[in-house]
């Protein structure tokens, strides 16, 4: 009985989450050429806020998710406005180093408020999964994760393709200066982009919080792998982020059929390095190599 189908399924589930978070990185990079290393922490904060509303305040889970989205977007807005915005003009390193600082700060803040103990959304017993052909098992929440990821991705694509603001986002990301000339308010568009990224991350956080559990460092690995997914797919390329997410998710889950399971995380980095050495533009990246290679 092969375990490959189950691993593949696990890979798709993980991939969906990576893709959701990767979209945030890609959207922001596309327009600002900036990698926000604290993006994974938005995922983590989303999980905790949802938990606070759902478990501590006893609010219905859907409302909890909504509150999580709103507050996470708020946090992201504050960080962008008061920290990053002042540093974009100062070069390559300052904003990124600042994002490192923000990442640590947020982790420490949550650690201080909530403590290091693992929290869970589960209040009852663990429900058994559903059996699928091929010997696979999937739980309800996992089905939700796949469904929600796919729906959100499609929604984002439609938004970018057909709405006025979406088109403005693509314009700003394509050619910042000309977008200004067209009368687009770039600063507002950038705030919207950050908001979308934060919202997607928050939803991902709540879902993973439900599926697994909450720790202050839960955003770190997810954030890093989502970043890898973004680079693998092609920095700044939205479709690439999605593709990268699923690629990493699937390869790392299937990879542990052959490698010791402790190396699971390293698989993503291996893929990253191979990509950067042989095809730095990523799977779908359209940037000319001049931008990346010396």
């Amino acid at each position: 009985m092969s375990i490959i189908p189950q691993l593949l399924l696990n890979g798709i589930i993980a991939g969906g989450i990576y893709a959701l978070v990767a979209l945030g990185y890609s959207l922001v990079f596309g327009v600002l050429r900036f990698i926000n290393f604290a993006h994974g922490e938005l995922f983590m904060i989303g999980a905790y806020i949802g938990w606070v509303f759902n478990i501590v305040f006893g609010v219905n889970i859907l409302i909890a998710i909504l509150m999580s989205i709103i507050i996470t977007i708020g946090v992201s807005f504050l960080i962008e406005r008061f920290v990053y915005q002042k540093l974009y003009t100062k070069g390559l390193m300052p904003p990124i180093i600042a994002s490192f600082g923000v990442s640590i700060f947020l982790q420490a803040l949550i650690l201080m408020i909530f403590g290091a103990q693992i929290k869970t959304y589960r209040t009852g017993e663990i429900q058994p999964g559903i059996s699928l052909p091929g010997g696979m098992i999937i739980t309800k929440i996992q089905i939700v994760i796949i469904a929600v990821s796919i729906v959100l991705m499609i929604a984002l694509f439609l938004y970018l393709k057909y709405t006025k603001t979406g088109k403005a986002m693509r314009a700003v990301s394509n050619n910042y200066q000309v977008a200004l000339i067209m009368g687009i308010n770039n600063k507002t568009i950038i705030s919207y982009i950050f908001a979308i990224g934060a919202g997607l991350a928050a939803i991902g956080g709540v879902l993973v919080g439900i599926e697994q559990n909450l720790t202050p460092t839960m955003g770190v690995m997810i954030g890093i792998k989502a970043l890898v997914a973004t680079v693998v797919g092609g920095l700044g390329n939205i479709r690439g982020a999605v593709m990268g997410g699923f690629t990493i998710g699937i390869i790392e889950n299937i990879g542990i059929a052959w490698l010791p399971s402790g190396y699971k995380d390293a698989i993503a980095f291996g893929i990253l390095i191979l990509m950067l050495i042989f095809r730095p533009t990523g799977l779908l990246g359209r940037k000319t190599e001049e931008e990346i290679r010396i």
Binding site: A171, S173, Q177, V178, L180, I181, I184
Partner: protein, 233 residues
Amino acid sequence: MILSIDKLNAWYGKLQVLHDIDMHFNTGEIVSIIGPNGAGKSTVLKSIFNLIKKKGRIIYKNKNITKYTPQQIAKAGITYVPQGRSVFTDLTVHENIEIGAFIKPGNPWKDFKRVYTMFPNLKDLKNTRAGLLSGGEQQMTAIARALMLKPRVLLLDEPTLGLSPKVRTLIFDKIIEINKTGVTIIMVEQNAKRSLEISNRAYVLEICRNKYSGRGKQLLEDQRIKKLYLGGK
């Protein structure tokens, strides 16, 4: 007189590029700004559209628009086609043109009709990504985009840069066609000869200062101009 520039001084960072430039433009004219590279021709257009640091006055239709934002300037009736590849390469031709009307609320279907009538070849390319078009087609798209807001004044920064002679002719013909609908055209051009041929008047900038001005055809004949810019005899 629809637009005038008084004592314009402009800077790129700390470098002063324009010194006390005076220019005026009458309704319905085609006016060229020519001169050597680095003389600041593009800077004049960027100053009108308020994209750089400047001192001086820009008067449009008797209104002082010096401190207007680019958005307000576009709303007032001046649009700008920047130098180089200014189309959004990741957007389709139609989306590019649509962005031209971004600051106008509502559905600009009337404007689409007007613009596609003037650029019928773009209609066939509607759903093509702008990045895949030829240079001439991209430039047409950029100009079409600038026409969506029904501007009274159109600023063109080197519209034929990098294009083949045949395509240049097409662009210049289009510019004449647009001008015939009543749009005042202010055009910065490297290709002095052709642009002077279709201009009513021209300004010659020589390293930041306004050196000569005169009627287009007259300038064509001017021996000094011939020697300096037209590869003299």
